[in-house]
Amino acid sequence: MSNAVLEAIRTRRMVRALTDAPVPREQVEQILESARWAPSAGNRRLHRFVAIQDPVTLRLLRMVSPGMFQRPRAVIAICIDGQRARSFGMSPTARGLYVDVGTAAQTMLLAAHSIGLGAGVVTSFSRAAVSVVLNLPTGFSPEMFICLGFPAARQPPAIRPRTPVTWQILSHWERFP
């Protein structure tokens, strides 16, 4: 029996080449809605998302993001709200906060894939410069971009792992031998 979730997990790819077609706002909202359901430690919701569709802001973000090879038509910036973290007695650099960046990101990547959008993550950007471009409040730290658009027909070659990857290679039962 086919399983739509497993199939989506298997077929999702980092999409690095996007067309010029604009992403409808409704689709961006669908992805943001999916992130609302992402796992969040203690359901504390210490992250905030900034959705960007303005072409000038997108251009500026790309200028200060050396890792952004694609030209996205929309970006969702995942930010840690450091002040909110402190209100729970947490350091703004606590590991758990970064785990939740990952769970939100993966949820949004799968959501984008499921509605026909291409998506890729970018973490190589200047947090200082991005904070200025997005006018982030004090204590906010941008940690990851989800770059969105419609996949181009031709994609750059995938980055292959140095050795073949299977779940057996990545996993051990009970304890390491």
């Binding site: 200028m63 200060v64 050396p66 950007f125 200047s126 292959r160 792992p161």
Partner: protein, 105 residues
């Protein structure tokens, strides 16, 4: 030799921002990203210059500089990546000598 302006202020600013922010991000990133960032900057500069440079430089931009090895190659075949990068560097060197007229040939 009179030199031609090949960048607008906007384009120069874009490159400047890329280089400065890449210096910062590189502090936290894998070392193998270093050459990748430099080649990305070179590629963007070449894109800006194309159409404005002299015919000879144009040939460099649209020829050897289009043959920059793909970043993915570095992880699967580092030796080939080096060889291909050497070939591009050689072409750049040749062009510099021809453009500036230096060196005995």
């Amino acid at each position: 030799m009179e030199s031609t302006m090949v960048l607008t202020e906007d384009e120069a600013l874009e490159l400047l921002a890329f280089l400065v922010t890449a210096a910062r991000t590189q502090l936290d990133e894998a070392a193998e990203y270093g050459p990748l960032r430099l080649l990305t900057a070179a590629g963007r500069l070449a894109d800006f210059m194309t159409g404005r440079a002299s015919p000879a430089t144009q040939q460099l931009l649209t020829g050897p500089l289009r043959a920059l090895p793909d970043a993915a190659l570095r992880s699967v075949d580092p030796a080939k990546y080096s060889t291909e990068l050497d070939a591009v560097c050689e072409a750049v060197g040749e062009h510099l000598v021809n453009h500036f007229g230096g060196g005995a040939r």
